[in-house]
Symmetry: C2
Subunit: 378 residues, 2 copies
């Protein structure tokens, strides 16, 4: 079926201007088989551009809608507390490859990446709904594995599975997860509220998930070429786990609270540090500096990067899927932040005119570019 055919049928529907555009009139029916609309390829806009395009000009009408499109989660005003809602799609062949992703891990990850979005608003995830579309090549036992992973994540993060919708697809596996969280209204942290001179901090280490992905991709090719070959993954558990079993850093929120630090802006790193710091900078109307020599990179990540002759800095900046937290804090919190294990100060915010740059080990300035995981351009 082509788009032409789809558009052809559009002509079936004659719309009366006055009554808004869905009145059906089947009096005049013309079947045409060419596309009367201008055709713009999805790749021309890219993922973020497309979302901006599709959601532009949307103005909320309900008083409960505090924040719509444009942060990690939507924020709904439900009294003293706000309700946070995050929704993500995971598509076979785009977001995961079942040849090396065990279904149990996939279920776990599908839940965790959404829980991470609630954490990235400084909220607590409480409920999860999952929609799964599978073709008949999957068995009940395969779905059991997928659900086992989802349930495990729910158990770990104390989230209730409150909705399940499972349907067949013509091909492929599609997972759609919605997570509902809560926070006190005054606790919510947006990505748009960083201030000049704030310190930029990141939890854990970066680039590992991407190195795990490259390893799995390589072993897949080896396996496809010769199914008798044993995959060579020895010693690389750390980066494989980063890729196959990410965690939502709810523990970091607790540490910050205990230390008496409230970030000024907060986001989780799903698309790579570069993409995320640009979100914070642009949405806050600021510039930023990131120091290459401050980037936290695990030794295994560095070793695997060397094996692939990839600059570990590139992996950290553009790799994505680490699901660590990126946040800004007031400079006065420097001592408190420095005392927290596993938090790294990697740069600072500046006025907008200063732009967004990475300062290399050699002292050169490189503009930060949000390549990220642009599935639309892929």
């Amino acid at each position: 079926m082509t788009v032409n055919q789809i558009v052809a049928i559009l002509a079936l529907m004659r719309r009366t201007k006055q009554e808004e555009s869905l009145t059906l009139q089947f009096k005049l029916i013309i079947m045409i088989d060419n596309d009367p609309l201008k055709r713009t390829e999805l790749s021309a806009l890219g993922e973020f551009g497309l979302i901006d395009h599709l959601t532009q000009g949307i103005a909320p009408v309900n008083s409960t809608t505090l924040k719509g499109v444009g942060d990690d989660a939507a924020v709904l005003d439900h009294g003293d507390m706000v309700t946070l809602v995050s929704k993500d799609l995971l598509i076979e062949g785009v977001h995961f490859d079942l040849t090396y992703t065990p279904l149990r891990h996939l279920g776990y990850k599908a839940a965790v990446v959404n829980i991470s979005d609630i954490v990235a608003m400084n909220g607590k995830a409480e409920q999860l709904l999952v929609g799964i579309s599978v073709s008949n090549r999957f068995s009940v036992e395969a779905l059991d594995e997928l659900y086992a992973g989802i349930r495990l994540a729910c158990e770990k993060y104390k989230v209730d599975l409150v909705g399940g919708d499972t349907t067949t697809s013509v091909s492929g596996l599609f997972i759609s997860v919605t997570v509902i969280g809560r926070a006190k209204k005054e606790d919510v942290i947006y990505r748009s509220t960083a201030r000049e001179h704030d310190l930029i901090c990141v939890s854990g280490d970066l680039g590992g998930a991407y190195m795990g992905l490259l390893l799995l991709e390589r072993e897949k090719k080896v396996y496809q070429a010769n199914p008798q070959m044993q995959p060579d993954l020895e010693g690389n558990d750390y980066v494989l786990e980063r890729q196959l079993k990410p965690e939502a850093r709810a523990d970091v929120l607790i540490k910050l609270r205990e230390a008496g630090v409230k970030p000024t802006a907060l986001i989780d790193i799903s698309d790579g540090l570069a993409s995320e710091i640009l979100h914070i900078a642009k949405d806050s109307g600021l510039g930023c500096r990131i120091y290459e020599n401050k980037l936290p990179i695990d030794v295994v990540t560095a070793e695997v990067a060397a094996e692939f002759t990839i600059d570990p800095t590139t992996a950290a900046m553009n790799g994505g899927e680490d699901y660590e937290l990126l946040f800004t804090v007031n400079v006065n919190d420097f001592k408190k932040i420095s005392a927290i294990q596993g938090i790294h100060i990697i740069g600072h915010m500046l006025e907008k005119a200063e732009g967004e740059y990475l300062i290399s080990n050699g002292g050169s300035l490189y503009p930060i570019d949000a390549q990220g995981f642009n599935h639309m351009k892929a």
Copy 2:
């Protein structure tokens, strides 16, 4: 890729019993290419059976979780008000056919069927999140059409679009919609709270959406055989609109409130009257009688049914997608209900031992069977 291969990779992961099942150990890697698990086909369980199977034994841990899987929407305790969450998937080739579904109508319907789930809890839909996965055969303009329909539904039902996620797929169009609604805690109506002797009521008329579907399927075949043929849809606008542009019956809730009637149980008719009344009966621990001669069937529905030599009662009972409301009321509300235009009393609830039966025009009893739109068995 086969499930065998997928399961093969599962063997990559050795799990330690003590630490729960996601600890990765890549020390021993064995690639096997046959399925060590018992294989149960999805069709063996059916759609409802599968959801039951996958969600069995789930016990909520958060005090905010009032109702999880098993009604039109999840119910979250957020103070005086509850938050209602509904989530649905719409899959190309399963739930819709783009050869005769204009994208604008598809977007409208995707939003409406979820809004209808909130209405079916006696709530008001307030926010909507949409996830769309499309292949590159779609243009930006095609997505604009889809979004135009979603926005139109949002406008009509005063719902805010607060989240959008658009990603590529390898093939096909997948739409996942989440709708968030609210209701006063005491206003929520479940499907499980009908009482013996209650009257069974339905809004609008039934079977039309299914007749519209059959018409469109027929014209598709005609068109495929001879693209020069003009589709013969003359005079059938009503059933086509029922299929292509369903509405959520929020207006019925208002009428009921104005009449001072609060239903004892409430559900929307997405899978056909038979399937839905069985939900109410079984979840309420009751039996029921539906009278064939009371079923509201539009004259166009009856005419098209005759054209297809289909019993209009079958269309009403098992057709699905009418999105009318099915509800039960106390017998004492008989007069009030009778006075509301567009509401039909079609039967009554009995004790469980009486079973669930349709009483035909001839007076015979036929057991009600939930064939519905069982996509899993299709």
